[in-house]
Assembly symmetry: C2
Homo-oligomer: 450 residues x 2
């Protein structure tokens, strides 16, 4: 059997490697557009922070290792342009030149996502950069090293924008951030996002939220980000406005699309064509709280979906429960995490959401050090079910959110979650874990309402 | 109604405070043997580590605050010696003198636990100390300050013994630890306890496990811990050999006892006498994995059980699920955590336990810093159920265990746990969380066996 994979990043190479482990005989062909495969894209901001670390440190396994040690026919520089489900072939060109047509028995579309390119005059100027591929990362590092960059403007205030703000500040650069809608991290409870904002401002990051950008001008080597109430000089402009799935070839081949034009897959990662799978940042997933399709392009899901495809292709039927929408990032000293739904999402999905926000010490009474930890917990008035959580603090956030993620997978009520036997020792939290304190307060609100 | 509480520590004062919040009219009497109420006992080793911090920092709320602000009739120095369920009275003496008899409508026995006193000649010598009450802590600090202590011998190698070893080393003292049975933390997977042992030894703690102590001799101000293969000079000897429940009065009153002579309670915290409750370190609990009674005297359970008693006394029927056996402690740079059953416990409870141990980096590929994180995960071959976990590492252990605790409460299988959407960002772990990597490996073993 011939298993063809379009895309050699997290989902694609996870699938290829696991398929090989499952079946030493399977013919595995990976067609990758760029020259890079299997790297830690999420690590790029931290790598960019350090001028002395080569970007190559982020490569998990090099192409020749896949070829030689795993007998995977990995072809870089191969851009797939069309999928023909009737003929069971994919076709495209090698670096825009020589054409190829490859037959498949099973196909995995793991084409990933690409940065949103805003429709702005000047977005194509030299010195305007994006950060998605390793090549993007190399380009940014080269520009930072060569160009005498002192000021960077970032369009967007999402995870990557914030991680890059930290990275650039740590290199001593002036950083300003712009976005059209008011509010930093609008999905967060305002009292929590205020904590993040204060920390960014304390580190000298200029925040211009609620400011529309009209164009990017240039003056010699320098750029200006210009809008009705905005005129930011910058040596470098980073556009970090989110991603869109690379689903065009799939859509043209007639595959069904899900939210945000991601490729719709079932729990087996099968698309609307039985022999075609999709995984990674081009595909959707079921949300474990709502049971509905969502587009949450994150690394764990990509790897996990790649594995599941390999198992299904190799005759080991595997279904994935879905995603809980868990995410964490660091920005300066703060850890910021979420899992589950936000209040707005919950209301939209037909729940009757009730939220509680608390701040408690991050260590036990009388224990030296620590700081405050901020928790928002969300429950459903009708069912009593736990719907989601958000956490912000300088310690104890990144892994504490996992307790919520597991509770969401298990469908626990707030009442049952409030009874869980979470770990306690003075250096790590109060006797009543902040999650339990929040759960108890939420429980009171839920009971009051019923 | 008159609610009498024996014991003014975690369980007792939690119950008193919550009962007052529930019912402003309730007559609440607390009879406490010592002069201290409501303090963070778990914080004592960290306080002892710092000569300049007064022990009083650990007091959460002082007795007069309970009396004045919460209208709780809190009587310190009151030692209850007998419970008469037929007459519904408790009786005892005030500081060994004046007798008292107090009637009750509802009684909470929250008498806590006391340190195990080994049957050793010389255990009563001056300079041999225990650590359970705040008064014990004060005594140790006074001795450390006044006595010119340079060498401490610790009998026992449990949580408190290890926390104290760190505290004493941080004060520059020589520390040796002794226990009769071989093996540090024998409940741990050997490959994990080896990590703890290496760290203790790196910090100059002398470990004498598998050495019997016969007696404690004295030479002037100095002590010697002596056994067949042992002769340890010490200025101070700390006996930290675990605790036993203070259940004698309850037993004499005819209340049923559970494991380790703890007071048996149902899910409502009721003893075998309907109007008598028990909570805290004197009482047992149901284990959420086995459903059986266990004695796990830890702080969160004590507080939670106190609350549940107050709710039940005040006509708000409340049942507790039980404990997952979650515990965490820090020893030097290491975080050590567990939840659920050990392999030995699981076998004893009739499961068919299968264990896997892994060590993975604590941060993502290519991310600077971090260390290894060691995970042991345990599942049941017959049911596929997750049974327990143990973690050791310099970061990411203390809260990561909570994901396991929640999974145990929810009764998840290893397969479902392996699908959970745990948080990922490069500073906090690999894409595949160590718990997920362990779950996948455990799953393979479980499948192979079936």
């Amino acid at each position: 059997m011939r298993f063809v994979i379009i895309g050699g990043d997290a989902a694609g190479m996870s699938a290829a490697s696991r398929a090989r482990r499952n079946d030493p005989e399977l013919e595995i062909v990976v067609l990758e557009r760029t020259d890079d495969v299997s790297y830690s894209a999420c690590g790029m901001p931290y790598n960019i922070a350090d001028p002395d670390r080569p970007m190559e440190e982020l490569v998990v396994r090099r192409a020749e290792v896949f070829r030689r040690k795993q007998n995977i026919d990995l072809r870089t520089g191969h851009c797939v342009e069309a999928i023909d489900p009737a003929a069971r072939t994919v076709s495209g060109s090698v670096r825009g030149g020589e054409r190829f047509v490859e037959p498949y028995d099973r196909l995995l579309v793991a084409t990933g996502a690409r940065p949103v390119v805003p429709d702005l005059p000047g977005i194509d100027r030299d010195g305007v950069v994006f950060l998605k591929t390793l090549e993007d990362g190399r380009r940014i590092k080269t520009l930072l090293a060569a160009r005498g960059v002192a000021r960077v403007a970032i369009l967007g205030m999402g995870y990557i924008a914030l991680e890059m703000a930290e990275a650039l500040r740590s290199r001593g650069l002036a950083v300003s951030m712009v976005k059209p809608r008011p509010g930093l991290l609008p999905w967060m409870a305002p009292e929590l996002s205020a904590v993040v904002r204060a920390r960014l401002e304390a580190h000298g990051v200029e925040l211009h939220d609620g400011r529309r950008v009209e164009r990017i001008d240039s003056e010699g080597d320098r750029l200006r980000v210009v809008g009705p109430e905005l005129d930011l000089p910058a040596d470098l402009v980073l556009a970090a406005l989110g991603v869109v799935p690379n689903s065009e070839a799939a859509a043209e081949a007639g595959l069904e699309l899900g939210p945000s034009r991601s490729i719709a897959v079932d729990r087996r990662l099968c698309t609307s064509q039985a022999e075609i799978y999709a995984a990674g940042d081009c595909a959707d997933a079921f949300h474990v709280v709502t049971g509905r399709r969502v587009y949450v392009p994150l690394a764990l899901r990509a790897n996990r979906a790649g594995w599941a495809v390999a198992d299904n292709v190799c005759g080991r039927p595997t279904e994935l429960d879905g995603v809980a929408g868990t995410a964490v990032f660091r920005v300066f000293e703060l850890e910021v995490a979420r899992s589950g739904l936000t209040a707005a999402e919950a209301a939209q999905e037909g729940f009757d959401p009730v939220a509680v926000s608390i701040a408690t010490p991050s260590r036990a009474h009388g224990h030296p050090g620590g700081d405050r930890i901020h928790v928002q917990l969300l429950g459903d008035r009708a069912s009593g079910r736990l719907l989601g959580a958000q956490l912000v603090g300088v310690e104890g956030v990144a892994h504490r959110i996992d307790a919520v993620a597991v509770a969401l997978h298990a469908g626990l009520t707030v009442a049952r979650f409030a009874q869980t036997d979470l770990a306690y020792a003075p250096p790590f939290g109060p006797v009543w874990d902040p999650l339990l304190t929040a759960a108890h307060q939420l429980l009171k609100l839920l009971e009051r309402g019923s």
